[in-house]
């Protein structure tokens, strides 16, 4: 009874009361006036080739990362993205530079698909001052907030609520934007996944939850861990469409995200996309991959996302083998330059900066926190 009464009150707010609130709005561009503007639907041949090049860059970058790890030049943990390139590149090609992205512990591909600079990426992995996060984040914590990449996280499923909050901000600010939230099949068993999708489903938030189902959460197969066979099948209970796509086909991923983004921009709420894919390397460098067979690995190598797309483009006469080789040479040179920049030319951060940027306006000293600035 009380609830119904209160709801009636809300429907008819006391006259004049709302006028007391300042008319100032946070949104600079109210969405109502303008038709939503998404990424373009059809790609030219050149644009398709650009997608292929992006995938080649990611593969070459990750191969280099693996090599540097093996040679112990690169320290720490790196979870490489090789094999999954079509997901990041397809999805990121379907959004605009007004949209947000959250990433995962296997996130190099997401950054590069968004156009991150190879040199600064490699420098960050090497812990150098010239890296995207001044060497503080490393492989698992790369962000480029200026370009709306809200960052990677070392916690499986850790960014699902954050992406949901980004969607909430977009909605409250009336912006023509979406948030693209990458996560893995393992994360779909976390409470964060279920809490976030419920919240986004209820509030119709403009978030595209894109699950990269690479079959394994570290070593445990999805089928050994989950009560369902498909991640996408979890969508309907949260009042959103669930779409499973071939994650090795870059344009298939792209089309699914385009459709989801268009729906979100129209106020149609979130979508869960499951891209079925495979990581070529182990979970991390110490992983002997005893939990999967050589046959399975060979099967997926046959469905390599770069080879599939290259062959498509050659079939459509948009590319020749010779042109592909030239592109590969360009990519290889760029990766070599990134390695030189990161490994040889870039300095490590100054140890005196270790306590910088923990807080806004305060810094840790022997005696505790002291102000670094006086706020106006």
């Amino acid at each position: 009874m009380a609830k119904a009464k209160a709801a009636t009150k809300k429907a008819k707010p006391p006259a004049g009361r709302k006028k007391k609130a300042p008319a100032r709005r946070t949104s600079k561009a109210p969405a109502a006036k303008r038709a939503p503007r998404g990424a373009k639907k059809t790609l030219t041949g050149e644009e398709k080739i650009a997608l292929l090049v992006r995938m080649m860059e990611i593969r070459a970058f990750e191969d280099k990362v693996f090599e540097l790890l093996a040679r112990n030049i690169l320290k720490g943990a790196s979870h490489v993205y090789a094999g999954q390139e079509a997901v990041a590149v397809g999805a990121c090609s379907a959004i605009t530079d007004r949209d947000y992205v959250t990433s995962t512990h296997r996130g190099h591909g997401h950054c590069l698909a968004l156009g991150a600079d190879l040199k600064r990426m490699m420098a960050e992995l090497c812990g150098k001052a010239t890296g995207y996060c001044k060497g503080r984040g490393g492989s698992m914590h790369i962000a480029d907030v200026a370009s709306r990449n809200l960052g990677a996280t070392g916690i499986v499923g850790g960014n699902l609520p954050v992406a949901t909050g980004a969607g909430l901000a977009i909605q409250m600010q009336g912006k023509d934007a979406v948030c693209l939230c990458f996560f893995g099949d393992g994360a779909s068993n976390e409470g964060n996944f279920h809490e976030s999708l419920n919240m986004a489903g209820k509030w119709r938030l403009p978030v595209i939850y894109i699950c990269e189902n690479n079959l394994y959460g570290m070593s445990v197969a999805f089928e050994r861990a989950a009560a369902v066979n498909e991640v996408a099948s979890r969508a309907p209970v949260y009042a959103m469409p669930g779409v499973a796509v071939d994650g090795q086909r870059v344009l298939e991923v792209r089309d699914a995200v385009l459709e989801a983004a268009e729906r979100a921009r129209r106020g149609g709420g979130p979508t869960l996309i499951e891209a079925k894919t495979y990581r070529y390397r182990g979970h991390s460098r110490s992983d002997p991959r005893v939990y999967r067979t050589k046959e399975e690995e060979a099967y997926w190598q046959e469905r390599d996302p770069i080879t599939l797309f290259r062959d498509d483009l050659i079939g459509q006469k948009l590319l020749t083998n010779k042109a592909f080789e030239k592109l590969q040479a360009v990519v290889d040179r760029a990766i070599a330059a990134a390695e030189t920049f990161a490994v040889q030319d870039s300095p490590y951060p100054d140890p005196s900066e270790v306590l910088d940027d923990v807080y806004c306006g305060w810094i840790e000293t022997d005696k505790g926190l002291v102000r670094t600035e006086t706020k106006g």
């Binding site: 609130a21 503080r136 699902l160 609520p161 954050v162 409470g191 976030s196 923990v358 306006g361």
Partner: protein
């Protein structure tokens, strides 16, 4: 000056900041129609509506994480977690994401968010609704911890916290919501990291915060009747900590008692004790005394609960021990 209740001071601070800044919004369990489990958001929903006063699902991780994401994208969320005990469910989002993002990402993001929660014993609601877990959050780099004891401080510090660019855990006390105190009509802010001297004295320093600041004042009053002049300090903020105020007092009195409702083991006051011995060792005339909660889950039975948490009598006794007058 008009007297208002602690819960009203919280509510007034929220309303004023929401009127002032359209980026500020409130979300949490039961905050809208119900007005908050302890009525600290009462009336906000009627004024600001569903959009800015959001009842959420019982999803603590999503509440804390959505606040983090919204803060990174230009909003200033004030999320409510009903009991600090429930912060266990939001821990990863607050500590690992909100608290660390700025540093991990090279200083290129800010996370201007407040989580309001409440803690403390006194209602016989046992081990999952009575804890004082502030030490956990003081241990986490990147987050602030604010714990006001009066309506005046609650309002001024909450307004400052909402305007601050750091993720802040604002811990209220369930036994303080109904307490009254003077709060001016005129707008005011209280800077973070400034303790308040509640009572001047030069025999012994007694430090408390939240409800224990009131117990410390009561102890100071009782000691005065016996001719012992205690200086009572209310920390107000645990992080940032006003260490200068503490050191100045200890250098004057040479004796220190700390009262906290947190478990004794690894209590936040241990950090204060470490700093005092580091920076004022030569001034100490007696071993430092701490009066904390017993190292057991908070029991339900009122008799046991009272035994487990610090009381005014325990604070008085500790002060006397430092003066060898027990």
């Amino acid at each position: 000056m008009p007297e208002i209740m602690y819960r009203e001071a919280i509510c007034d601070a929220l309303a004023e900041e929401m009127r002032r800044d359209p980026r500020v919004f409130v979300m949490g369990e039961d905050v809208a129609i119900y007005g908050g489990a302890y009525s600290a958001t009462k009336g906000l929903w009627e004024e600001f509506g569903d959009e800015r006063v959001r009842d959420t699902a019982i999803s603590e991780a999503a509440i804390a994480g959505a606040a983090t994401g919204a803060a990174m994208c230009g909003m200033r969320p004030v999320a409510e977690i009903m009991y600090v005990d429930f912060m266990t469910l939001a821990m990863d989002q607050f500590v690992n994401q909100a608290g660390k993002n700025r540093y991990m990402f090279g200083g290129k993001t800010t996370v201007p968010m407040v989580i309001r929660t409440e803690g403390g014993a006194g209602r016989s609601i046992a081990a999952h609704h009575s804890q004082s877990l502030e030490a956990w959050f003081c241990h986490a780099p990147g987050v602030f911890v604010v714990m006001p004891s009066t309506p005046y401080d609650a309002k001024g510090l909450l307004k400052t916290s909402i305007r601050d660019d750091n993720p802040i855990l604002f811990i209220e006390h369930k036994m303080l919501y109904g307490t009254k105190g003077e709060v001016p009509d005129k707008e005011y802010l209280i800077p973070l990291g400034e303790a308040a001297v509640r009572r001047p004295g030069d025999d012994v320093t007694i430090i408390g915060y939240s409800l224990m600041a009131l117990r410390a004042v009561e102890a100071g009053d009782a000691l005065a009747e016996e001719g012992i002049h205690a200086e009572v300090i209310d920390l107000r903020c645990l992080k940032p900590l006003d260490i200068d105020c503490i050191l100045e007092s200890v250098k004057k009195t040479g004796r220190l008692v700390l009262a906290s409702e947190g478990y004794q083991e690894a209590n936040f006051v241990c950090e204060i004790i470490a700093k005092v011995q580091q920076f004022a060792f030569d001034y100490l005339d007696a071993p430092i005394e701490r009066v904390c909660a017993a190292n057991c889950p908070l029991p339900m039975s009122p008799v046991l609960e009272n035994e487990a948490v610090p009381t005014t009598e325990k604070v008085i006794a500790a002060a006397k021990r430092t003066l060898r007058r027990a």
